[in-house]
Structures are given as structure tokens and as C-alpha cells.
């Protein structure tokens, strides 16, 4: 309200039109105050509502994390060595992988030593979900009888009921890593470069005690095919390779020749929280962890 004492001089000096101007001014002042109040109250209500939502959501997050987010593996990638054998020790007497399940963390460096002492050729083939790797234990001798008990005979091809006249090829890394090969001993685009060391030193002659000088050997993961010496003779073969388990999930591996007999298994890669913040480490192509 306008104080007449204060504005009295105006009234006296401006008897005509002054009331109108004053009214306009007062209305404008009221409008200004009202606008400010309206803007403040309106915005404040919305801000308060949103702030409340933010607080509620922020309160819920720890509970959700407790429920799920923290219940995960959070491990620095490590080197995981596996020794996968051909076997037929099930009561069915059919070809199998022993073990048929491999479990690792996402990001782990997986070393596969695939060992067979069968008269048939076998492969460890993994071509699922972005993995591409094969270890092909095939040995052949031209004109062989196929009675594979030493390195003088060729292995049997279960799919064609014939005998291999040539062995798998020890390819260069650039050739072997181009993709899965039907001729290379070790191949696939997931293949890491040769040169890492197999994590578990191996007894070069498993039938004998690993005494000096035949103490367990540090074996290079050389992406090659080898023979095992058993008391001076060769009666088993093995190949070795490594890859990075960069993708979480369950992936089938199989033997190219005997999958229909049941020779398949699964690679299980556990999701690893560590990889969410260390993607480079979990996808590294280094052959050491």
C-alpha cells in the first residue's frame, strides 16, 4: 500500500493522471512479486519432486548392488593351464574329452595341452561365440597300415575309414592365425603368438619318476604338435596352444571326427567385473597374463 505521507507531494503536485500512473506502478509491482513467487513456487515444487526421486533412486542403488553387482568374480586375469585328454574310459567305451568342462575367468589366458594316445586322429575345435581355435592331433605316414602304436604308422580317419598319409602341418603363426585350418596342427584367429610358458611343468616321461636330469620341463606354448616318449617309445601325441578368454559365456568345443560319438564339451567363461574397468587387460593378445 502506498503511504500517503510519502507520496503526498505527488498527489499535491499531480492532481490529474497521477492516480492512474500510480495504480499501474502498484499493479506492476504486484505482478513482479507474484511472478517471482509463482516462478519460485512452481519450479520449487518440480525441483523438490525430482530431488526426491534422485534421493530415492540413490538409496535403492546400494541395495541393488548388494543383490547383484557385488556378487561377481572380480579377479585379475591369470594363466589357466588345462590338460585335455582323449579318453574312452566311460562305460560306453566311446570317445570323450577328459575333462569335458573347462572353467575360467573372463580375461584369463587359457593354455590348452591336448593329448591323445588313440589310433584315431582327434581335434580340439572351438568355433563358438567369437572363439576360433583348433588343435589337430593328426599323424600320418605314406603307405602306413594305420596301426598307430609308434610314430611309424598313420592315424585312422574315423570319418572316411582310411588312414592318414600325411601329418598335420606345423604352420607359421601368421598362417595359422589366419583362421581355422584343416591342415595345420594348430590354427585359428583366437590363437595367441607362440612363446609363452605352460604354467605347469610337465614330466617328459610320465611313466617314470621325474628325477634329474629328467625333471619336469618348462614347456613353451609353441603352437605345435609333439610326441610323448613313454619309456623310449612314442605312444602319445600332444599339441599346445593358448587363447584369451575375453568373452563370457558357455561355448562348445568338439572333436571334428568324433563329435557324433559324443566327443564334445564346454568352455565356461565366468563374467569378471575386473574386465568392466580393465578391458585392455582382458582382451590382451599377449601370450603371458
Amino acid at each position: 500500500m502506498v503511504d500517503p505521507n510519502v507520496l503526498g507531494f505527488m498527489a499535491e503536485s499531480a492532481p490529474k493522471g497521477f492516480g492512474l500512473a500510480l495504480s499501474v506502478a502498484v499493479i506492476a509491482v504486484f505482478l513482479a512479486v507474484g511472478a517471482i513467487a509463482f516462478a519460485y513456487v512452481g519450479a520449487s515444487t518440480q525441483v523438490n519432486s525430482l530431488s526426491s526421486q534422485v534421493s530415492t533412486l540413490q538409496t535403492q542403488i546400494p541395495g541393488l548392488i548388494a543383490k547383484s553387482g557385488l556378487a561377481s568374480v572380480n579377479a585379475t586375469p591369470a594363466t589357466m593351464a588345462f590338460r585335455v585328454d582323449w579318453c574312452n574310459t566311460d562305460n560306453t567305451g566311446q570317445d570323450r574329452f577328459c575333462p569335458p568342462v573347462l572353467i575360467v575367468h573372463q580375461g584369463d589366458l587359457v593354455q590348452i595341452l591336448f593329448e591323445t594316445n588313440d589310433t584315431d586322429a582327434h581335434t580340439f575345435t572351438l568355433v563358438a561365440g567369437g572363439y576360433n581355435l583348433q588343435l589337430n592331433n593328426t599323424y600320418g605316414v605314406p603307405g602306413s597300415s594305420g596301426n598307430f602304436s609308434t610314430n611309424e604308422n598313420g592315424m585312422h580317419n574315423f570319418l572316411s575309414n582310411t588312414y592318414f598319409q600325411g601329418s598335420c602341418v606345423q604352420a607359421s603363426y601368421s598362417g595359422a592365425s589366419a583362421g581355422l585350418s584343416s591342415s595345420d596342427c594348430v590354427s585359428g584367429s583366437s590363437l595367441l603368438a607362440p612363446g609363452g610358458t605352460y604354467k605347469i611343468p610337465i614330466n617328459p616321461n610320465p611313466a617314470s619318476s621325474p628325477l634329474p636330469p629328467a625333471t619336469p620341463e618348462q614347456v613353451s606354448v609353441d603352437n605345435q604338435f609333439h610326441f610323448i616318449r613313454e619309456n623310449g617309445t612314442y605312444n602319445a601325441v600332444w599339441s599346445i596352444a593358448s587363447f584369451r578368454a575375453s568373452i563370457a559365456g558357455i561355448f562348445e568345443f568338439y572333436c571334428y571326427y568324433h563329435v557324433s560319438n559324443g566327443m564334445f564339451g564346454y568352455l565356461i567363461v565366468l563374467p569378471n567385473t575386473y574386465c568392466n574397468t580393465h578391458a585392455t587387460a582382458c582382451t590382451s593378445t599377449s601370450n603371458s597374463s
Binding site: 497521477f18 513482479a32 533412486l57 585328454d85 605347469i200 602319445a236
Partner: protein, 302 residues
Amino acid sequence: MLNSDLPNGLGFLAEAAPRGFGLAFGVGIVALFLAVGAIGFAYVGSNTQISSLQSQVSTLQSGQSTLAGLSSVNRPPIVLPVKIAWCLEQVVQDRFCPNIIVADQGDIVQLFFLSNDTAAHTFTMTGTYDFQVNDSGAGELDFLTNYSPISGACSNSGTYAQMSVVVSGVYCVSGTSLLDNATLTANNAYVFAEAQNPSPGLPFASTCVSGEPNGVCLTNPGPGPYYVDDQAHMLSLSISGVGVNATGVSETQGIGAFRATTPGVYIFFCRYHVSNGMFGYLVVLPNAYCNTNPAACGVTKN
């Protein structure tokens, strides 16, 4: 403001109110500017804040949806009996059968390790888990010393305090992860969770061998409790039937327990035959239950 600046339409005001009018008019104009400014300021200012908050709400709702969508194991720990045997695969090399153990975080793993080989074997874990069952009976062969006979069996005479110091070369069962009797009892884990047939080579009830003078009858009383007593038991063929395994060959059975407190994948191995490939992996799956019930899982909360 000068009267001459007024628009023509307002000239009558200037004429009618030569004095004081300017002040009132100025106040009105200023008030109008203030009103417009206040609305603009309030609009722009609050709009920025509202946009920011709306963005936060959207982000949080998205994160909430993502988190709520994640699933994981979420159950109270159990007692998990595991029976692992020494075996020879087709490659005729020493192996664990099975060579993978999968447990949920918090589970109490009862590890029953049996071997009927002529050589001694161990089930050994070191590192995060420190635990060993050593099936070394007197007379069994030491692969690392060219099959020389082990002169003395592993010791069952240690107390829990002695055995739990660290993995031991003396005691049959040892390691810092070894659970004590009180913990096992409190968790109903002192008895192996699967009743055991004392003589797997014999059917239950009595079996009499015909043709023998006076007859020989073997009696298998059927499954009974087997205790997690942190010992290795050397079984041998017995006329009573107790102690005969499936192949009729004596065997060694060691048993101990630990709690799978830490998720991850961990190697276990036989200290004699690891270089022949006798190793496997313990897989401990993360368990959301342990986040809210750390004590029940044996987890120390940071």
C-alpha cells in the same frame, strides 16, 4: 525519462501530470521489467536445474533397471560333499576324477579324497585356499623319489591347532583353511553329507562264499555315517566286510573340510603327480547372499 520521449498515445498523461508522474511511471516501468526479468530468471534458472535433475533421474533409472536385471546365485550356504578319486585316464597318467569342483560362495566343502593306487597322492591347494588331504600310507610309493616306499604314513595324531597352521608334510589333513570341529558341528557338517557304503564291493546284508569249508560269510551293514574327522583312513580287505572297496583292493580315504569364502577359480593338485597332469580346478561361484549375510558365508566384511 523526458516527456518528449513518451509515445504520442501517452501524451495526455504528461500534460495532465507534469510533476511526479515521471517518478510513478518510472516505478511502474521498472516494476514491469522486474516482473519480466523475474519470470525469465526463474524460468531459465529453474529450467536448468530441472533439466539437470531430470537427467540424473533418467540415468539412475537406467542404472536401476540394469542392476535389477542382473541375476546371480543368491542362496544360503550349504554343506557340499565332494568325493574325489585318484584315477588313470586312457592316457595312463594320474588324474583326479572328477577334476572340477563347483561350489557356491559360502558353502562348506567336505572333501573326501580316496585313492587305491600303489603310489601316494595328495589333494593340495595353496594360496587363497590352503588345504591338503594327504593319502600317504606306509608302504605306498613316492613317485618323486623313483617309487621308493614311504617309510611312515602321514600322521593322524596332530591336534587341530597343529594341523591348521599351514599345509603340512607331516599331517594327513592340514592347512589354514581347515575348519575346526566346533565350526563343523555348528553347521551340521561334521558328518559327511552322503551316507557311505563301508564296503562298496559287497551288496548289503550278508554274502556267503560257497564252496569254502565251514562257509565264509561277509556282512555289509549298509550305508552309515562318515565323519569329517580330519584324518586319513587306511582301509584293507577285512573278513568282516568293512574296508573292502569296489575292486577288493585296499585304499586310503582322507577327509577334511573348508569353506568356499572367496569366489574365483583355483587350482588343486597332487604334489607327487602334478607334472603328469594330476591337477584340477575349484570353482567358487559368487553368491549375492554373502553380501548381506557375510557371517553366514564366513566372509570378513571390509
